[in-house]
Subunit: 546 residues, 2 copies
């Protein structure tokens, strides 16, 4: 078992299972870049290991259709064209994504059905229906020559999902009875005590909001939240509001959900965005994308009155039925400020709005429930930052059920036989940064994480290349200076030496934390340049990951 | 009344009160830059209005010693040297700050005492003791020829502050009896129902943590949280732990607090950081700065094992007795992940840690209590983003006490007589960005907000200058291209036109939101350049505020 992404970070979930000359891959996700990775559109896992073992890779299996599980597919398939297995809904998302990248014609997409077992070389795979914020999600029970490896995928135990497709507790109980070698479980909400409420739990509060809204209602949720979209549309219908859908991803999701029977919409409920102005304000609900304040989203544009169809007027209500993804606070609050200036009533999940959003991931008791049902010999937390994995490992160890809890990180190789699980070495892993503009171009092995600042005092860019895998600095630092001093060879040389010295005096861990290493370079160089030139150019260390 | 900062944003609080030819200024704060302002160290309010009326400015009055109230002083005093009034503790902070900028010798610092009225031209000022996370904080009751203007400063109604200096409810009641023209009140926690707990409320849970910790205890809080520092030190003493203080700001705060009698430490409690290694792990508490994961803070460095004295070993406890300031999530979580990898036990305010932190700002009931006591004729919410001001205005209007609630923003001029308050025009306001490296240099009127990204495909920097006050674009866009195409005049000219067109098609509101305008420029330019050259250079719009 070799995790290639998602163990020690949120996003880019990807895990390889190998038995002799056969490899299967579970999920192929992307990650949205951190602030330091500005300019980069998406981040995907380094799949060198799969490419080195190209002929052995038999398939990619998808647990569900969220971007952190399928978003890396275009990039991975363009490197490694293997069959992709997923449920009907998941594949519908994948199709759209591959079509966009002109990869669909050559793709081999194979539907899997919950409860229907199939074989891939030495592996026999049983998808099991689980519940989550998205629909048609599965866990994967993978029967291997040494026992069952059970991957939960993302899940919560929702006993009343709006689509009426229940969590398959029986299948997990049955597996537990037969014996499970290893359980891999979603760590996202390990910090939350109790149970996560059902997707249906938001309905009463949303119903209230629909009832109280006097003018236009703008409803925003994650575009993949099919349950939420369904509830909103049912409520719109109940309260006599037509529904307009604004935003490409929301449009796409709604269309797929309708095609596959997850949304059964009354005739005439949906109107075109162009028809909004023909409706009385209290007769329309605008489903609009952009809960995270993304600068180009429909809602952000509407917030500054720059959307063709979405006009937010005084007294309108804007409901953000979503959570704040960490890191997006400022963008979201800025958008809310714009909305408030338009005198819209903004309802968001600030702790006072009532239950307008629920998580898609199981809380502590659901994690315990699963461990109790499955009774695995080995337990491995997946899907989380390091601190989540660690907390999850503690939770599992504290139950007295599991024989051994293993804290695995990206790149670790874990070898199983029927009785043991032993770490044995590491493979290459890492993050590949992609500028997605139209097609899928890796940012030519170059990743720049930086902040920028110019002044009349000019700018100095120390550029270093760090090997992401080894942490080694691979070049003599380059120094680019602009608008600050006539190219002065001595100054450049000295600056280069300063940076080199800073690097030499930094630990591997520091060099792996770009925020720290850049701050160190910035400080050291600043001091030197100020002393030499009495000027204060803006110093902008650039790190290229290679 | 002319707010110059802090009404419509968190930070850089600054407000002018003018009567004919006399101006007094309340607070002179800074703001920490947003992500888009990277490279900039601090942001201070544009004080053009004060400079234009230089001879009229009589004094700056400080409500308390937090950076968002005093941090702009070095910059403002270097432009405008006027007397500064503050309480003893506040002035101690100010002294350190001015000394650092070599401005102390020329500064005129005058202590004010809670309850002791003094006169400045037509104004007579009564400082009133309030409670907050910091000590020695005051509200200011300013008697003017048309009535009393009461500015709360930052406050909560803490009935059991650890320093034993109570909130002066009587003074506010007395003012209410005599009649208050206008109340300006802290909006920070207007979203929180109920009352904010006392600073003393964290003690039981912190006591538990001290009792349960077996090895070293690293205690981190905001360096200005004197109450918190006091409680931590009392607990360290109670549990037989020596205290080492690491971090310059924490050191400074502790020293001032000790000098002024806010900390009464038992002989021998404090040890030098160098003595940590001589103590048994269960006999030491390390007070360390860096709750926000700032890359160069002591705690961040300790987290990657790069601090001379702070070594975090397996089994040590790290307690973050603080909140997560929005925008800092990723840095904090990254630091926590590093700490977890060292097998430290990290306790932070994640909702499960118990009461380890309380806010310094009053919640809704405290805001209502103040309005009820003071019964002002006019009410103006201050200190908050626009949405806070608005919510606060609604809260006040809903009480049936205030005659008129006024939503004021930076730069608005509000004219009073005994019976009316009328908005009349605007003055220049805005944000001035400062690179603080050593001395105080304004980033020569140039502010660059940008994100950066380079690749083998090169880089294109469209540079525009926006007049912050008018929102007008002041230059023909400049285009810098590097590593991407041989300087091609036609391409540059066309790119310039593209950017100009994007600007022409954008509203003033969009142009004021740099995130949006940059994204638009980036998208339009990207499309054009890809079409023309089939290449995908990284496009990095640069906006200079002038």
């Amino acid at each position: 078992m070799i995790p290639l992404g998602g163990l020690g970070e949120f996003g880019m979930n990807c895990m390889a299972l190998r038995w002799q000359d056969d490899i299967i891959v579970i999920d192929a996700g992307l990650m949205f870049p951190e602030e330091e990775l500005l300019g980069v559109d998406i981040v995907v896992p380094d799949i060198s290991y799969l490419i080195e073992n190209r002929s052995k890779v038999k398939a990619i299996l998808l647990t569900h259709g969220h971007e952190d599980h399928i978003g890396g597919l275009p990039w991975i398939l363009s490197e490694l064209n293997v069959p992709v297995y997923g449920t009907e809904f998941t594949l519908a998302y994948v199709e759209g994504k591959l079509e966009e990248h002109r990869l669909l014609d050559n793709a081999d997409l194979i539907e899997m059905l919950p409860g229907k077992r199939f074989t891939l070389g030495p592996f026999s795979i049983m998808p099991i229906r689980v519940t989550h914020s998205l629909v048609d999600c599965v866990a994967l029970a993978i029967h291997t020559p040494v026992g069952v490896v059970l991957h939960t995928g993302d899940f919560k135990v929702d006993l009343s999902p709006p689509d009426g497709k229940p969590f398959d507790l029986h299948a997990f109980a049955e597996l537990g009875k037969q014996g499970v070698l290893c359980l891999l479980q979603d760590s996202t909400n390990v910090d939350r005590p109790g149970y996560t409420p059902s997707e249906r739990a938001v309905r009463p509060r949303l119903d209230e909001i629909f009832a109280q809204t006097k003018k236009k209602l703008f409803f925003s949720c994650f575009s993949s939240s099919i349950h939420r979209i369904r509830v909103a549309m049912e409520l719109a219908h109940k309260h006599g509001r037509k529904v307009a859908i604004i935003g490409r991803s929301l449009d796409n999701s709604t269309e797929i959900a309708q095609d596959l029977g997850y949304l059964d919409l009354p005739q005439g409920l949906i109107i075109n965005p162009g028809q909004i102005r023909d409706q009385a304000p209290d007769k329309v609900c605008i489903m609009i994308s952009g809960t995270q304040g993304e600068p180009m989203s429909a809602l952000s544009r509407a917030a500054v009155n720059n959307h063709k169809f979405a006009h937010i007027d005084a007294g309108d209500t804007v409901l953000l039925s979503s959570r704040v993804i960490p890191g997006n606070e400022k963008g979201i609050y800025r958008m809310i400020d714009h909305l408030e200036r338009r005198d819209a009533k903004v309802i968001h999940d600030d702790g006072t709005a009532g239950l307008i959003h629920v998580s898609g991931h199981g809380s502590q008791e659901e994690l315990r429930l699963m461990i109790n049902l499955v009774r695995p010999k080995f337990f491995i937390p997946v899907h989380g930052d390091y601190r989540h994995l660690k907390r999850h490992a503690e939770l599992a160890a504290g139950m007295g059920i599991v024989e051994k809890v293993i804290l695995l990180e990206d790149g670790d190789v874990l070898e199983f036989d029927k009785n043991t699980a032993v770490k044995n070495g590491k493979v290459t892993t890492g993050r590949v940064c992609i500028d997605s503009g139209g097609s899928i171009d890796v940012v030519e092995d170059v990743v720049i994480r930086d902040r920028q600042h110019l002044s009349e005092d000019g700018i100095v860019l120390p550029i270093i290349a760090i090997n992401k895998r080894t942490g080694r600095v691979e070049n003599t630092p380059e120094i680019v200076m602009r608008g600050f001093a006539i190219q002065d060879d001595k100054l450049v040389n000295d600056a280069r030496n300063i940076v080199q010295k800073t690097l030499d005096n930094s630990s591997a861990e520091e060099k792996a934390d770009y925020a720290i290493i850049k701050e160190k370079i910035r400080n050291d160089l600043k001091r030197y340049i100020q002393k030499q030139t009495s000027r204060r150019p803006l110093i902008m260390p650039v790190i290229m990951e290679i």
